[in-house]
Amino acid sequence: MTPTTFEQIDQTLRSATPFSWCLVWSLLELVPYELSGLAQVMPNLLLMSAFFWTVNRPDLMPSLALFALGTVHDLWTGGPLGLMPLTLILMRAFVISQRRILARRMFVISWWGFVIVATVFGLMSWALASFQADRLFDPTPVAFQALLTIALYPLLARLMAKFQRRILD
């Protein structure tokens, strides 16, 4: 049976959920929350959502989508362009290679996977920024950011899992 046009549109929109979520999260990262110092340690919401969807629906998070999301994120934040696409692509390679462990078991295991991803991202961003500025930055804010990102992951994952159940599965 061939799907009707409406069904096709519906399907396309549903398939775009992960991408749209990631886009919205990276926009939310930009909002000035007017809390002293929060800008310094703003959790990396895009990394969280991209990781979640790559683990759970890698078919809807192809490399091209991740690359585009990373690029837009870097252009928005005004950060070193290329860092986020590189991180997301490497994250995808890591997730895909470990997917059998990450996707099926308990949540704790995928959280552990995220700990690795967030830590590597923190180290990379610190090293890259230090390299570009030609001096060593204070790593404390990066460490805080990584911790906050890791700590908030279960919350965000839970929220998006709800969406996944309702819209995609």
């Binding site: 110092g37 490399s63 690359f67 696409p85």
Partner: protein
């Protein structure tokens, strides 16, 4: 390496571990690294695409900001309620002190005006372009910039000075149609010529991503006191002269002096955008 036969139901293993996947991994990593290199040069088209994307994000951020701002107002209100007595006491004292200053300031203003008239000095003033709301932060650890909801449409141009009610905040670095990005004074790339009063010495205020920027190129042997005023000089043509920037923090004699900025960086909401044209006779070799 796993090798599985290609199946048609879209199972992952083969699509992801096959040659195509490895090739795309390689391709995208190369692309990202290339972007890192090209991005370092900050070419013109990058600036343009940043501006276009910021324009696209602006309406959304504007919308999201409202509840956040409302929340912030409620919190401030609560805070004010708790500290109302202590605050009142402090303000009373401050008011008394300021009154005496006001008299001094008025006398000086009159005298200043008379002397200027005597010398035939031309007033160098910045022209206000517009006011704007801060709608986005950089969200980064290594760069300090904000997004404002005014752009080319409102007359904002690259290089314009941005200030809040207390003092200089930074300068405009990219301009979109209805949004612009402002490089804050404490960003690593921010270097502005300043004058320190009352000593009257010129120096450069350099950001290093920490809350308090550093005074560099201070003439040898000059000692500053905590609380000395740091103002813009107008050299280089970006910032209008004599705008308040901050006050010198107590130094330890070994490390360079740092400056507490007067603009409220923790709570940037509304800002003024100023255009400043350097007087013609001043335009020497400065770019």
């Amino acid at each position: 390496m796993l090798r599985k036969p290609r199946s048609r139901d879209g199972r992952l293993a083969d699509t992801l571990l096959g040659f195509g996947a490895r090739f795309s991994l390689f391709l995208f990593i190369t692309l990202a690294v290339a972007m890192l290199v090209v991005g370092r040069l900050e070419p013109r088209f990058l600036e343009d695409s940043r501006a276009v994307l910021a324009d696209l994000a602006a309406p959304f951020l504007d919308l999201v900001n409202r509840p956040v701002e409302a929340m912030d107002k409620v919190m401030t209100w609560g805070e004010n309620l708790v500290f109302v007595y202590r605050e009142n006491d402090r303000l009373r004292k401050e008011n008394a002190r300021l009154r005496s200053w006001q008299v001094a300031a008025e006398t000086l203003a009159v005298e200043n005006q008379q002397l200027r008239a005597l010398l035939g000095l031309k007033d160098i003033k910045a022209t206000p372009v517009t006011a704007a709301r801060v709608i986005g932060q950089s969200g980064g650890r290594f760069f300090q910039s904000v997004l404002i909801n005014a752009g080319r449409r409102d007359g904002v141009a690259k290089g314009n000075t941005v200030a809040d009610r207390n003092g200089v905040v930074g300068r405009v670095i990219t301009v979109g149609r209805h949004s612009a990005r402002v490089l804050l004074l404490n960003d690593l790339n921010s270097r502005i010529p300043v004058k320190i009063l009352p000593a009257g010495v010129n120096a450069i205020l350099a950001g290093d991503n920490r809350p308090h920027p550093v005074i560099t190129f201070l003439p040898e042997g000059v000692t500053l006191n905590a609380g000395d005023w740091v103002v813009t000089t107008g050299h280089g043509g970006t910032f209008p002269p004599d705008m308040a920037v901050g006050r010198v923090l107590a130094g330890d004699g070994r490390t360079p002096y740092r400056v507490r900025l007067v603009a409220d960086f923790d709570r940037l909401d509304f800002v003024r955008i100023l255009a400043y044209e350097q007087p013609a006779e001043d335009q020497g070799g400065a770019p």
